[in-house]
């Protein structure tokens, strides 16, 4: 009997610490600045425990009964704490309010537990034994939890389900306590029913955990998530680790702030610097404003039109300080016109002409995106190019998806253009490819704008040279009615990931 009692103490302590760790971790994941988050969460939690200990003096009668009720409330609040915090972040403006409210409520309740427990069992042991046993198991529980949390719980269950799992443990301890303290309880059966209900509720939550938040994605991203939003069109996630800011759209990496300059300098300048007088530039996709940042290095550019599907994306990159720091507030330039529209439809109905067009769409991972890599799409682009105009297409990796890359090259060619494929190395992506296209011959630029971090005139010729492992392979063009590209791309990337 004694050992069972002390195991419950151990578990109660572990639960208490887990909820505290979860609150700290969720706050760091969502808001960032983990030192501040952990420090304030732990501080307010401990303080609230103190309040709980203080309040325990006002509980005079029915100690065991009240203890079990407290356990049950802790089980529910603690079990759903992580889900509530994710939902609060996604749907309310008051995340911090919810965070500290939950931390304080849990702290007070957890602070009540040990003093009540000590008083319940005070008749079974001497006072000095009670203090010694209870505190010993309390601290062992804390150690147990603090090791379990980073090693097993977060990697295996994630934050949402870890909390729910420990809520169930809490509920189980409550149920167990109804047997341990049977002699103190007059209405054990009623309490047992409530305990079962709580355990069932939390178990349902555990099974449905993903649906509750839609954020159970802790396993996908290596780094801490600082922003996560489901827009009408896509799932935007920003992660940060030290100075590395990464953008994911529908779980596909779009850039890493450490090396995006390589990708964007290579995307924009080999083509744009070769256009004699680039006055009007169009960017299709590129809602991060990073290609726009590069285009604004040309003072001759009078107008820059950016067409991106998702208004939340362009708003985010116009307002968030992290992100406007990265794109150098490019969206706020008076030269820039942002249009939130479906690129193919917009292009099809537009009458405008451009001297340079940057096509920076996500990779052709499905048939919908694949439409943006077809002969019809590139023929439509032709109607919007000025006489000396050129366009460039981001074209996935000629190394990892060699057939897909050369399929895009062939598609542009069959749409009636001369093609100039090139590639560069971007550490976070690997070897990356582009296709420059024009109806006339391409002469490489003789000067580049100032401020290049990567691109040099001397380095340009090597970009147009494809070593044997990336050399051209014969591929058919990608057509709307036969999207060979989407099938090839799927196959090639699947081979890489196995």
């Amino acid at each position: 009997m004694a050992i069972l009692l002390f195991i419950s103490i151990l578990l109660i302590a572990a639960c208490g610490l887990i909820y505290e760790l979860i609150a700290g971790a969720v706050a760091s994941y969502l808001v960032g600045d983990s030192i501040f988050q952990f420090s304030t969460v732990i501080g307010s939690y401990l303080f609230a425990m103190g309040i709980g200990s203080f309040l325990s003096r006002f509980i005079r009668r029915g100690l065991a009964y009240r203890f079990i009720w407290i356990e049950l409330i802790v089980a529910v609040v603690g079990g759903f704490s992580s889900s509530l915090l994710f939902l609060a972040f996604a749907f309310t403006q008051g995340f911090q309010l919810f965070l500290y409210l939950i931390v304080i409520v849990l702290g007070i309740l957890v602070g009540l537990e040990i003093p009540l427990l000590m008083r319940i069992i005070r008749h079974r042991y001497h006072f000095h034994e009670v203090v010694s046993h209870v505190l010993t198991f309390d601290y062992i529980g804390a150690l147990f939890a603090s090791i379990l949390f980073p090693v097993v719980l977060v990697p295996q269950l994630g934050l949402v389900r870890s909390a729910l799992f420990f809520g169930i443990v809490n509920g189980a301890v409550a149920l167990w306590s109804t047997f341990l303290f049977k002699e103190h309880l007059s209405v054990a059966r009623r309490l047992q029913a409530v305990c079962c209900a709580v355990i069932i509720l939390l178990s349902v939550g555990l099974v449905e955990g993903k649906r509750i938040t839609g954020l159970a994605e802790d396993n996908i991203y290596a780094d801490e998530i600082i922003f996560s939003r489901d827009t009408h069109y896509q799932h935007i996630v920003l992660t940060k680790w030290k100075d590395d800011l990464r953008l994911f759209l529908n779980s596909h990496l779009q850039f890493s702030s450490r090396d995006e300059y390589r990708y964007h300098e290579a995307l924009v300048h080999p083509g744009l610097a070769a256009v004699p007088v680039p006055r009007h530039v169009l960017v299709l996709g590129g809602g991060d404003g990073l290609a726009v940042r590069e285009v604004l290095k040309y003072p001759q550019v009078e107008s820059l039109t950016l067409v991106d599907l998702d208004p939340e994306m362009t708003r985010l990159f116009s307002t968030n300080p992290f992100l406007t720091g990265l794109n150098q507030r490019s969206f706020l330039s008076p030269k820039v016109h942002i249009i939130n529209a479906d690129a193919f439809l917009w292009l099809d109905s537009s009458q405008d002409f451009f001297d340079f067009i940057i096509v920076d769409f996500p990779d052709p991972t499905n048939y919908s995106l694949g439409k943006l890599y077809t002969t019809v799409f590139y023929s439509t682009l032709a109607h919007h190019l000025s006489r000396q105009g050129m366009f460039v297409v981001q074209s996935t990796s000629p190394m990892f998806a060699r057939k897909s890359f050369w399929c895009i090259v062939e598609t542009v060619k069959q749409a009636g253009f001369k093609v100039y494929p090139y590639h560069t190395y971007v550490p976070s992506f690997g070897e990356w490819g582009y296709v420059l296209a024009s109806q006339h011959d391409y002469t490489p630029p003789t000067s580049l704008p100032g401020g290049m971090r990567f691109l040099t005139l001397a380095g340009l010729p090597s970009m147009f040279d494809f070593p044997p492992d990336m050399a051209q392979v014969t591929m058919p063009a990608n057509h709307l009615n036969d999207q060979v590209l989407v099938r090839t791309y799927d196959q090639e990337w699947r081979e890489i990931s196995h």
Partner: protein, 504 residues
């Protein structure tokens, strides 16, 4: 607080419900484009009001479906404009009608034209006029986008409608043998589109038996093969293989080269063609004009429609031929014209159902009595579509057509709504959460049914020839209801009229 066992259960299930059940949408809709009433007025030989005006005009086209519109197109191209086209419904197009809502336009019936080969010269000429065929190349915007067809079987989707999952070696052998047989028929040159081009009595014997009987005779008994062939007959003829002439069954597979390009299609299906033709020919069309009597008048005719009497020299009868004995004075009843009843529905989807596979253009379910659905947004250039319209096709192929027609009339909209959702739910469990509206179109005589004997019927042969200065032009003269036949018959009738009237 006392918790009873019942409270406890209620609490538990309430918690479960709250987490897993989203509310279904309220679904609105109605029957649309009903034409039963008008048809029954004719059938019952009701009294129509007397004509108040007389219009003298050299030619009248009765019926504004593809046959009638094609006749008008031919007239216009030959510089002849002294004609009028009378359409009973408020919207022309017949089986190439379309609808439109805030999301997209969508078809009401026929939704594609296979890429025509050289023999379908009129189809190629029309598509050249409409910009679909340019310098010998098909505009890829009008070729069906990938992925084209999906079949749902064994709880998953596969590419293409010909079953490829779970075939035994015996199934494969039969598919192979069937394809070999089809290749031989195709090589004979007797099965063409339009069928007049390859017309010969060489295979007339095939018309004497049902497709099912022919399959049995040739030891085709693979369940998967028979499902597939029955699907084809239901799709093109609204009939089971057992009710289809073997000649027609063979024609379905042997009349076209196996194509790689995918059919030609538009969001509104063949409604796009109607739209384009009406843009050019609309001034000749009178819609909502039901012709109720056609009378010989010397060498010419009197055509009564609404309050107008048209006195003309020639008539092109492009409406369904089964109507003719009710309209044309003195015409004997017909015996060889049978029709399949159909139901089509357009479902407005406010959100997309959860599905691991990207939807194709045409989505078919194995072992369903229906023909599945076509996604109207599929042929959009959009990369992101969160709303769409699905056109749901259901040929009432099982059982006698007359009984099915009666059922179409008797069952209310709610019945069909439930039947359609029930069928879709087998594949899309959350469909009720996505659909906001279901409009249902009932067609008692949707398409001609090529029953055994229909193709080589002497009655058809007689009606294909001129009846004085009256020319029949509906696709049902061919015995199969497809765009190319309708267009061919319409153009051919127009050529006859121009010849009779002495136009160059």
């Amino acid at each position: 607080m006392k918790i009873t066992r019942r409270d406890f259960c209620a609490f538990g299930s309430a918690a479960l419900m709250g987490l897993s059940v989203k509310a279904d949408r309220a679904i609105s809709g109605s029957f649309v484009n009903d034409s039963f009433q008008m048809g029954h007025l004719l059938r019952d030989r009701s009294q129509f009001p007397a004509a108040r005006e007389v219009v003298r005009i050299p030619a009248v086209i009765v019926g504004g479906g593809i046959a009638g519109l094609s006749a008008a197109w031919r007239f216009q191209k030959r510089g002849f404009s002294d004609f009028v086209l009378l359409e009973m419904n408020n919207q022309a197009g017949g089986n190439a009608r379309w609808g439109e809502n805030q999301i997209t336009s969508y078809p009401w019936a026929a939704h594609y034209v296979p890429v025509p080969d050289k023999q379908a010269e009129y189809v190629r000429e029309l598509f050249t006029d409409l910009g679909v065929l340019k310098d010998g190349k098909w505009d890829e915007r009008y070729l069906c986008f990938a992925p084209q067809e999906h079949l749902f079987l064994y709880g998953r989707w596969q590419d293409g409608i010909e079953p490829e999952i779970g075939l035994t070696p015996a199934d494969r052998e039969q598919f192979q043998r069937f394809n070999d047989a089809v290749r031989a028929f195709r090589a004979s040159g007797s099965f063409t589109v339009p069928m007049e081009r390859g017309w010969s009595s060489k295979y007339a014997d095939l018309d004497k038996m049902s497709f099912a009987a022919w399959l049995q005779q040739n030891s085709f008994n693979s369940k998967l093969l028979l499902w597939y062939l029955n699907y084809a007959c239901r799709d093109d003829y609204g009939a089971l293989a057992a009710d289809t002439s073997a000649w027609a069954g063979v024609h379905y597979f042997s009349s076209r080269a196996p194509e790689e390009k995918g059919p030609i299609t538009w969001p509104e299906g063949n409604g796009w063609i109607t739209r384009q033709l009406l843009a050019r020919l609309g001034k000749f069309a009178r819609t909502g004009q039901m012709v109720h009597r056609i009378q010989r008048d010397g060498a010419g005719y009197r055509v009564y429609a609404g309050k107008t009497e048209y006195r003309c020299q020639c008539v092109i009868f492009a409406a369904s031929t089964f109507l003719a004995p009710y309209l044309i004075e003195g015409m004997a009843p017909l015996h060889d014209f049978q029709y399949s009843p159909w139901l089509t529905a357009n479902l407005t989807l406010e959100s997309m159902p959860d599905s691991r596979t990207e939807a194709a253009w045409d989505n078919v379910f194995m072992d369903s009595p229906t023909l599945g659905y076509v996604d109207a947004m599929h042929q959009s250039l959009r990369t992101f579509a969160d709303k769409t319209v699905w056109t749901f096709y259901w040929a009432l192929a099982e059982g006698p057509p007359a009984a099915n027609r009666q059922m179409l009339l008797e069952k209310d909209w709610a019945y069909w709504k439930e039947a359609i959702l029930h069928d879709l739910e087998r594949v899309h469990k959350d469909i009720r959460k996505c659909v906001s509206r279901i409009d249902v179109m009932r067609m008692g005589h949707a398409m001609v049914r090529p029953v055994p004997g229909a193709i080589f019927s002497p009655e058809r042969k007689k009606l294909k020839a001129a009846q004085g200065r009256l020319f029949f032009a509906n696709s049902d003269l061919s015995g199969i209801s497809i765009f190319e036949e309708a267009q061919f018959r319409g153009v051919t009738a127009a050529n006859h009229v121009l010849h009779v009237l002495g136009k160059p």
